[in-house]
């Protein structure tokens, strides 16, 4: 990192000079900020560091994950570590996996304006509007698959003019798809029954009794099927 290569950013209105190569998260720490809210996995998997920003001279309000986005000169930054949203309570065993599921739990999806603001706001580049529309059509599989990479950061919900919370809809879709459409996996169920019947108990019990040498011999000579 070149030491002279600094940029100016504004964190919640306060101006700081920071190295140009840092992510927003590291730049804020460099500026003296210790995260309590607004930092999580630091690797793009948890959505805790949802951030909105404008750059100097631009009208555009943009969204990003602070841990994944490199600072730009003249950036105005605000973090959105929490998005107010109602998650519906349901017993997944009782939800009907048909075209009524989404409208029953999240009727506000009918308000979708197809403006695509959610898709533009998504730091994961998910086609958010497309899955909201799929949910509106009752297409559980499409909603589940299109929303799969969602990390629940909340930026889509914050920007939606129809006040929809897309990530909650995606979550319901994925659970329904896995449980009812894809269904349980047969060889998993078979193996569970074999374990319950005690099929492997004797062999494991025997191995638990082995001394280290015998175990090592077994391990070194075990058959590999890859």
């Amino acid at each position: 990192m070149e030491k002279n290569n600094m940029v100016t950013i504004h964190v919640m209105g306060k101006k700081h000079e920071v190295p140009a190569d840092l992510t927003i998260m590291k730049a804020m720490e460099y500026a003296g900020h210790q995260f309590r809210r607004g930092a999580g996995c630091r690797g793009g998997y948890c959505g805790a560091c949802a951030t909105i920003y404008r750059t100097h001279g631009s009208y555009k309000l943009q969204g990003a994950l602070a841990c994944q986005k490199i600072v730009e000169d003249g950036m105005y930054i605000a973090q959105i570590p929490f998005s107010p949203a109602e998650k519906k309570r349901y017993d997944i065993n009782e939800v009907r996996a048909d075209d009524t599921a989404f409208l029953e739990h999240y009727p506000e999806i009918a308000r979708c304006l197809s403006c695509n603001t959610c898709t533009k706001a998504c730091p994961q580049d998910i086609m958010v509007m497309d899955y909201v529309q799929a949910a509106l059509r009752g297409d559980i599989e499409e909603t589940a698959k299109l929303s799969f990479d969602c990390i629940n950061c909340g930026l889509c919900a914050i920007r939606c003019p129809a006040e929809i919370v897309p990530y909650n809809i995606g979550q319901l879709a994925r659970r329904l798809y896995s449980k009812y459409i894809d269904g349980p996996t047969e060889h998993v169920l078979d193996k569970v029954k074999e374990v319950e019947a005690g099929k492997f108990d004797a062999e494991i019990e025997e191995m638990k009794g082995f001394d280290r040498e015998t175990l090592q011999e077994r391990y070194e000579t075990r058959e590999k099927r890859l």
Partner: protein, 546 residues
């Protein structure tokens, strides 16, 4: 256009040049003597000047990384006179500390075993579900394929752990594996399947079968968010941004809850509980030997510290897992995980000459040692602009072997992350170096997930014993659910009959006594709750290995 600086292009050309001749090729796996030798010479665990013996407590004499000993040989952050134990803020049956995979599983099972949702309290330092559990990419092991069995899984684990694992815990891990996958599917976890409806399974380092179940490379994310959704649907109580800072005990030596710290108001609160479950995760953010880490922001060893203050027995904390492939470039993501599934699906580690130098699926400790040797012993690493060294991980091979589109489909997270920094991993390799990943040891538990102190249960990375001295890929994910569920079940059982006596924090005074007796003079305090990255620490790298 290349995502790498000009000076690396010569080496990248060699990677491209040797690629056709490497398809389907692998160097042989090392034999037992070779493994032993490379670990002794190159694994950070064997760098003895980076360890010392713990001077105090029931596990006195145990050799551990300096950073862990420092963390344990610290003053508790509160003194008993600061806390009024008569003023109880939460009076519950079960307190769960930590809201990752283990804690969430424990909560669901405690509920299913008869505990009212409002008599369970989950506290979490950050947000619900924010944990290493969520960052797991490559997969979860479970021996459910027709040509696999828990017996074979058992042997893989014990050998991989250097025969130091606690056998009864390994037995539970392998036998409950298939049931965990079944449970996940009932809850609605979307696993990757083949066209015939069977699981898509991949190998991992040290596995003798294809046993890795995955949800793209968002495996932990998918499982965790389903558990969170279920947890919220059941209205189980929880408080975010609230950290436990000390366990509360009673006059009979039982654990009886915890002192909590509200990270918003900076106030202490008291939780009284009939059973307490530690599910606080690991210590990656202690940056053992200066290594960068794959870990979550909150992975600061709090659980082990609190348990040790209360007198719990520890084990296997001499052993630390360094994941072979952390990002070495670009600088912004140094240390972040490049999943083992990449190698499971055909990516090869290569030196700067574009040559193979190690079997790609050795156990993690051996693989990591081979990468360190290649960079520092043989000087065959590529040096980054910030002075780190790394080797190539040839990801374009994945598409050559498994077909075009495989990377976007199966490695959406990896593809996305590197793309943001201008590297297309379908076309160019990644530059990688080992990174601090997992604490193999921790608080000792038994089959019922009880620690050595009555009333205190533990599950997940905070415990030791399951993985011995080296963990295999996908077994930490499995362990979260196997032992998390057990913790919920057994804690519920205890809560139905336990009688709690007079509350006390006298164990903190006892701990101060141990420190004084051992002559530990320090101003360190623990648990530390959050790592320190402010100001110049933001851009410091201080690898002590070399």
């Amino acid at each position: 256009m290349s995502g790498y600086p000009d000076y690396m292009q010569e080496s990248l050309e060699l990677v491209v040049k040797t690629r056709p001749s490497r398809v389907g090729k692998a160097l042989p796996e090392m034999n037992a003597e070779e493994k032993e030798k490379i670990l002794r010479e190159w694994h950070p665990d064997f760098k003895m000047d980076q360890k010392r013996e713990l001077k105090i407590g029931p596990s006195k004499g145990m050799l551990m990384p300096l950073e862990v000993v420092d963390n344990l040989e610290s003053h508790p952050i509160i003194t008993p006179d600061q806390i009024d134990l008569d003023d109880i803020d939460y009076d519950v049956d079960i307190l769960i500390i930590g809201a990752g995979g283990a804690g969430l599983s424990a909560a669901l099972l405690a509920h299913e075993n008869g505990i009212d949702p409002e008599k369970i309290l989950m506290v979490q330092k950050l947000r619900l579900g924010d944990a290493n559990s969520k960052m797991s990419q490559g997969g979860i092991q479970a021996a459910d394929a027709p040509d696999d069995s828990p017996v074979i899984h058992y042997l893989d684990i014990i050998g991989g752990g250097h025969y130091e694992n606690k056998p009864e815990l390994v037995e539970l891990l392998v036998k409950e594996g298939p049931d965990v996958i079944k449970w996940h599917e009932e809850l609605g976890v979307m696993y990757d399947k083949l066209e015939d409806g069977t699981m898509q399974l991949a190998p991992g380092g040290g596995t003798s079968r294809k046993r890795m179940h995955s949800c793209k490379d968002y495996t932990g994310l998918e499982i965790t968010r389903v558990l969170v959704d279920e947890f919220l649907s059941r209205d189980i109580s929880y408080v975010e941004l609230t950290s436990a800072v000390a366990l509360v005990m009673d006059d009979e030596g039982q654990v009886a809850g915890a002192v909590l710290y509200d990270m918003d108001s900076d106030e202490y609160k008291v939780c009284k509980a009939k059973a307490t479950i530690l599910a606080t995760g690991g210590f990656g953010r202690l940056h053992i030997q200066g290594f960068e880490t794959t870990n979550h922001y909150g992975a600061t060893n709090d659980g082990v510290v609190m348990a040790y203050h209360a007198g719990a027995v520890l084990r296997d904390l001499d052993s630390t897992q360094f994941h072979p492939t952390g990002a070495a470039y670009p600088e912004q993501i140094v240390g972040q995980l490049c999943t083992e599934k990449l190698r499971g699906r055909g990516a090869q580690p290569l030196n700067k000459h574009g040559e193979l130098f190690v079997y790609p699926l050795e156990t993690r400790d051996v693989e990591a040692s081979a990468l360190i040797r290649e960079c520092y012993g043989r000087d065959n690493g590529v040096i980054t602009p910030t002075g780190m060294r790394g080797v190539w991980l040839d990801t374009p091979l994945i598409e050559i072997i498994n077909g075009e589109g495989t990377i976007e489909r199966e490695f959406a997270a990896m593809f996305r992350t590197f793309n943001k920094f201008g590297i297309d991993i379908r076309k160019e390799p990644m530059l990688v170096f080992p990174t601090l990943h997992y604490q193999n040891g921790g608080v000792e538990i038994n089959a019922e997930t009880e620690t050595s102190i009555p009333g205190l249960f533990a599950a997940g990375e905070v415990c030791g014993g399951v993985h011995g001295k080296n963990r295999l890929m996908g077994n930490s994910q499995l362990g979260l659910y196997v032992f998390g569920r057990r913790a919920g079940r057994f804690a519920a059982e205890r809560a139905k009959t336990a009688k709690i006596g007079e509350l006390t924090l006298s164990h903190l005074d006892r701990y101060e006594g141990w420190l004084e007796e051992a002559g530990v003079e320090t101003d360190r305090k623990a648990p530390i709750l959050l790592p320190e990255y402010r100001r110049k620490k933001t851009i410091e790298h201080q690898l002590k290995l070399l």
